[in-house]
């Protein structure tokens, strides 16, 4: 089962002929992802490793049946690349690009209301259903297929760390995804939790947050109200000073809001199993999830 993507997902790559686009297209293909098309305006008719390249998403979808897109388009044009995917009625758009202006994302977000396209990201590592489909830049090899754990995170390498520890403990993953480090993103924690809740294969979820905004607090409240699967939570940035942007555009404590302490408190209040020390995350998950697995 897993969520959002599976073996049948037909992936298109926007910006396939760029350096990053080429590299990660190959990585995804090597992992087994069905990459069916690429889009680079002006390069329609060419091929990249045998993958047909089109001038537009609309044309690529019409000719290849692509239903998901991975976007490697530079920041000035990335928002429009998302809109193009939405306009073509793609089911899923995964935007890897970091550095999209916030106002561009506000417009995209507003324009997506009522559309069927799900956006993951931007400024994210992507999504992987181990053993089935990888749309993103995460290293495939650290994952263990078959579940029972779902992973959702605002971060990239921190997610790899979490996945690595799960795999080391013999805990496989259903789907792992990074929702992105920008203040405005497409899919939220709650969207993912809802999907994991509905996915029969997922038995527990690891949710990795960080400072900035209040998405973790909202997710914690949602979990208490709606979730009947155990959730392990981790928050990065306890030692981050206020007013400083910690790498991610969205990772900032401002006006006393968005602190790690507040997020951890919200998690504890809402029966989430809080991981205090990243080094122990894998073993904590083993403890927590083995209860439901047995």
């Amino acid at each position: 089962m897993a969520i959002f993507i599976d073996k049948e997902t037909r992936v298109l790559v926007q910006g396939i002929t760029g350096k990053e686009g080429q590299f990660h297209t190959r990585q995804c293909q090597d992992y087994g992802t069905r990459i069916v098309a690429g889009v680079t305006p002006g390069k329609g008719g060419q091929k990249m490793d045998g993958i047909p390249v089109f001038n537009s998403v609309e044309e690529a979808c019409a000719k290849t049946g692509a239903n998901a897109t991975m976007i490697f388009v530079p920041p000035p044009f990335a928002a429009e690349a998302i809109l193009e995917a939405v306009d073509a009625d793609m089911e899923l758009a995964v935007c890897i690009t970091e550095g999209i202006p916030v106002l561009d994302m506000l417009r995209v977000k507003s324009a997506m209301a009522g559309k069927r396209t799900r956006l993951i990201g931007p400024n994210c590592p992507g999504i992987i259903t181990p053993g089935a489909c990888k749309i993103g830049i995460m290293p495939g090899s650290i994952h263990l297929a078959g579940g029972p754990v779902g992973v959702v995170s605002r971060s990239g390498t921190l997610t790899y760390e979490v996945v690595h520890q799960l795999t080391s403990q013999g805990l496989g993953q259903t789907t792992c995804l990074g929702i992105g480090g920008d203040p405005i993103n497409g899919t939220s924690f709650i969207d993912c939790l809802l999907a994991f809740q509905d996915d029969p294969e997922t038995q527990g979820v690891v949710m990795v947050g960080e400072i900035g905004g209040s998405a973790e607090e909202e997710a914690a409240a949602w979990i208490a109200a709606h979730m009947n699967k155990p959730v392990v939570g981790f928050i990065a940035g306890l030692t981050a000073p206020p007013g400083k942007r910690m790498g991610h555009a969205g990772a900032i404590v401002s006006g006393g809001r968005g602190t790690a302490a507040a997020k951890l408190a919200a998690m504890r209040e809402n029966d989430i199993h809080v991981c205090e020390n990243l080094g122990n995350l894998g073993s904590l998950c083993k403890d927590v999830f083995s209860a439901v697995l047995s």
């Binding site: 202006p101 507003s110 760390e161 960080e210 030692t239 990772a251 080094g279």
Partner: protein
């Protein structure tokens, strides 16, 4: 990116938003000639990016030429200490002389990005000149908020909500509405993340005027604003943070003794937290990005070592697509190149991890391999004992 009040006011002027007449001065020599052309009273305002300058003595209202001269001489060049500058303060390199205004009332007005609702929020209050956080916590009913959809833009009913909420005199509403509309356009056109006018004056002529102006621009948008990018004043930046940024590294100085070098912002924050949990203080946040090339590692070492507080370094890299042997080779080369003498704990994970560890072990440098994060933590604890 923050810009100075005088720069924001220049953008206001271009956008047709009323501001008081003003003169900028960088040079003590020019103070007398500038003052000679001004009517009194005049406000002398330190142009620093840090907030809280008023309480720090960075703003003086002068009623006579003599007072103005004294105030300007006092402020220009002073080391201004505010809540946001730290104890050492920040040097005032620019001052703004601004014509005093006869006013009836002071309001508060700001616009910012609301990340939860994914729109632009306008905040207004009758309590101009006061700290808005204080107003919000003590008298929340005096705060008016309006959420504007970025595609639809500002609507008349939203302007009316502000006007009725502020209980504006009918004589002022047109002038106020015009200002809000122009400010909103400026917000969009300049890719602002924040615009704040505090106070916004209602003058005796029943017009509105921005007495202060605070603007922050979304850094991600600067590629389309060369004019605003040119306004950047790096003199208040941390020297090391600026040097790191020039190398494309995300570095923030934290004041502790253990430097860290990590790929990825989330893992870098978690690493800082881990150092703290190991009983030592993190010296910095440093994200070398997803690639972590030998050159990046070298630049990272140089930045960390420029901080005299640093006693040891923790390299925490989750290689991902990057191979560990390549990374290890980069670390060894860079360490030799910068003449590294501090102890380094290296924890790396990913493809060819074994080969990578072997390279570090063979290097003859003081590089200790950590097998996992908990091992790394205990090594850090030992390091400082």
């Amino acid at each position: 990116m923050k810009i100075h009040e005088y720069q924001a006011k220049e953008l206001f002027r271009q956008a047709g938003i009323p501001v008081p007449d003003g003169q900028v001065c960088y040079d003590r020599e020019k103070i007398p000639s500038l003052i000679a052309n001004l009517n009194m009273p005049v406000a002398i305002k330190a142009q620093v990016l840090a907030g809280g300058r008023g309480k720090g003595g960075g703003v003086i209202l002068a009623h006579t030429t003599k007072e103005a001269q004294a105030a300007a001489e006092k402020i220009l060049g002073m080391q201004l200490v505010t809540l946001q500058t730290g104890e050492e303060g920040t040097a005032v390199k620019t001052i703004l002389f601004e014509q005093g205004i006869q006013l009836k009332k002071e309001l508060y007005l700001s616009m910012l990005i609301d990340r939860e609702q994914a729109d632009i929020v306008i905040i207004a209050s009758r309590d101009g000149g006061m700290d808005i956080e204080t107003v919000a916590s003590k008298t929340p009913e005096r705060i008016i908020t309006v959420h504007v959809n970025p595609l639809l833009g500002l609507q008349s009913y939203q302007l009316r909500k502000l006007i009725f909420g502020l209980e504006l005199d009918p004589a002022v509403t047109k002038s106020f509405a015009t200002l809000v509309k122009k400010l909103f356009t400026l917000f969009l056109n300049s890719d602002c993340s924040l615009v704040e006018i505090n106070p916004l004056a209602i003058t005796v002529e029943d017009t509105v005027m921005a007495l202060d102006a605070k603007m922050e621009i979304d850094s991600n948008s600067l590629f389309r604003h060369p004019d605003i990018t040119a306004m950047h004043d790096s003199s208040e930046d941390d020297a090391l943070e600026a040097a790191a940024a020039a190398h494309g590294l995300n570095y923030i100085r934290l004041g502790g003794t253990i430097g860290s070098m990590v790929n990825g912002a989330g893992l870098a924050m978690a690493t800082m937290d881990l150092i703290k949990q190991a009983g030592v203080e993190p010296a910095n946040f440093l994200d070398v990005g997803g690639g972590a090339s030998a050159e990046m590692v070298e630049n990272g070492f140089r930045i960390i070592l420029s901080d005299p507080n640093v006693r040891g370094i923790f390299i925490n890299i989750f290689g991902g697509i990057l191979r560990c042997d390549i990374l290890a080779q980069g670390v060894v080369t860079a360490a030799r190149k910068v003449g590294l003498s501090l102890p380094v704990v290296v924890r790396m994970e990913g493809t060819n991890m074994e080969e990578g560890r072997e390279i570090l072990a063979q290097s003859g440098l003081d590089l200790t391999n950590a097998t996992d994060l908990n091992h790394a933590a205990s090594l850090l604890t030992e390091m400082v004992q």
